[in-house]
Amino acid sequence: MRKTLLALAAGLLLAGSVSAASAADKLKVGFIYLGPIGDLGWTYQHDLARQALVKELGDKIETTYLENVPEGPDAERAIEQLVRAGNKLIFTTSFGYMDPTLKVAKKYPNVHFEHSTGYKRDKNMSTYSAKWYQGRYIQGLIAAKMSKSGVLGYIGSFPIPEVVSGINATILAAQTINPNIKVKIIWANTWFDPGKEADAAKALIDQGADVIMQHTDSPAAMQIASERGKLAFGQDSEMIKFGPKTQLTSILDTWAPYYIARVKAELDGTWKSEDTWGGLDSHMFAMAPYTNMPDDVKKMAEDAQAAITAGKLHPFKCPVIGQDGKPVECKGGDHLDDGQILGMNFYVKGIDDKLPGK
């Protein structure tokens, strides 16, 4: 019996070392995920892109991911674990991984890092993000057309510029349809917590909102809106199956082309530290089909999408009026420049709320 066990163990170890040898030739690519891969939102989309990557380049690369990595003291260890496991290109897919990624990047200059949605870079650390505010603008147009109460409900995650610029773009668009549009904002203070997100959606509906929009990652708000017979926008992923009669559209994160391009660059030895901020034109995100709306609203949305893609329409076209009633300095010619949007730390006029921490 003991001999059999020993033989078995030896065989297993051998098998392990053989597969390790064949894997050694492949480029190892690692991913750090904020949520579970089944969150059906943010992390789910990153993992879909990883799967697309494997499909495209699977014979040359091997991918590994760590899911549910909190943005606290554990993040640095998780990233370093991937480095130590031999990953040469590592995607850290949430804002809160910025400082931990930078720390590990400084420690391992020969490993390349790609950090999503942050602003700190290094020789071996790129950043990438998408101009989601463009999609928010389209949603704002639709919301204003579809809302009967004239009150929109907005579930925010954290009051960081990415989220604030999304709220502002939404309202600026909605005001072009209904100058008196109101928005109620609830900060969930989390990216992913279906319970909290659902509670926020309920509270917003109780306050009179009839169109729910969210900057959090789960379909919980969509489900609540669906139960209450209201309308909602999905987030990150296609959420139509959680609200077949509810979802108007959804901003879809489509990371696959970027991931494939970056991994190819790594394979070719042409990888450089870069700052990528792509919009509708560069397919960093896409809009889900426009549903549950009349044809004229749909046409308006499609026209706006085409205009933004072609660069003819800018969501932050000057003048942008701040909450204090004064126009914001216009640094980009006829619209706010990228720096102003990336660091956006103010609400526009018409938002009857105070930005947390202001």
Binding site: E71, G72, A85, F158, G343
Partner: protein, 363 residues
Amino acid sequence: MQLVLEKRAERSNTIALVSPLIAIGLTIVTMVILFAILGKNPLLALHAYFIAPLTDSYSLQEIAVKATPLVMIAIGLSLCYLANAWNIGAEGQFLIGAVAGSWIAVKTQGTDAGAWVLPVMFVLAAAAGALYALIPAICKVRFGASEILTSLMLVYVADLFLDYLVRGPWRDPNGFNFPTTAEFDPVATVPLLIEGGRLHLGSIIALLVVAAVAILLGRTIKGFEIRVVGAAPRAARFGGFNSNQLILLTFAVSGALAGLAGIIEVAGPVGHLQPGISPGYGFTAIIVAFLGRLNPLGILIAGLFLALTFIGGEQAQIAMKIPLDVTKVFQGILLFYVLACDSLILYCFKLVFPNRQVARGAN
């Protein structure tokens, strides 16, 4: 025939010693079955969980880093629990300690403050943790309020207070509005012990705490008092021990240790104050305290073991692509078996045949 649990005449000391081993054995058997069902090689999986993290200095350091706050908090909690005082709010005391210590770090940021900063941060954090723990203790002693509830509820107060500070007054002005303070200055950072690693001074402090409490419990009258009040309250009263005073004392000590653990975590591995600095250390420490049988050395081992499951879980995710959920299942199963096996200390299995007489009569 029936299998029943029967109370032993006295607690079995043999079982008390071997029960954790039985529990670990049963856990491993269960996990092997689970891995097999998942189609993963059980031997390699167990290797990734338990052996691989122990084979290189990096992982060993990480285990120590992860275990440090757990052990420090659990040691304090064990004093409370031994004295029959139920402090469930160590998480809150941890957060308040982190906040109080960070106050100095934030206020001295960018100034030429000297080496006094870190020691003062430690003292403030411990003091704040102790005071915060005294709130439920005083409510208990003075008004008879359940310390379980009050200490637990204060966790949320501390959490929201921290949240407010990093979103408002202490927010990093260059942090793009993200709820975090700026990175602490080097003088406000816990020194590292090994170049290039993450092992820090806090782990040494945790070891000192373990030793100090071991001496307190084993060699001093106060330690004896704590154990008597918990084990035999009536006898303690006859002995003239003041149990109210002990509740205040043990709460204060455990609060101070949790607070100290909080600032060490923030000024150490994290480097700044932000929400989410604790992935539930204060609650996990309760498990560590009981897993270690409220014994300082036991707690040290239990803390390291739990840390091992975290690090091993990550390595299993990387090496074997075993989902994180399996690690959580694994930790749950382990606790279940530990508690189940512990019941054997006071109870034993017995087969009874209630129907035998009747059956014979019928024949």
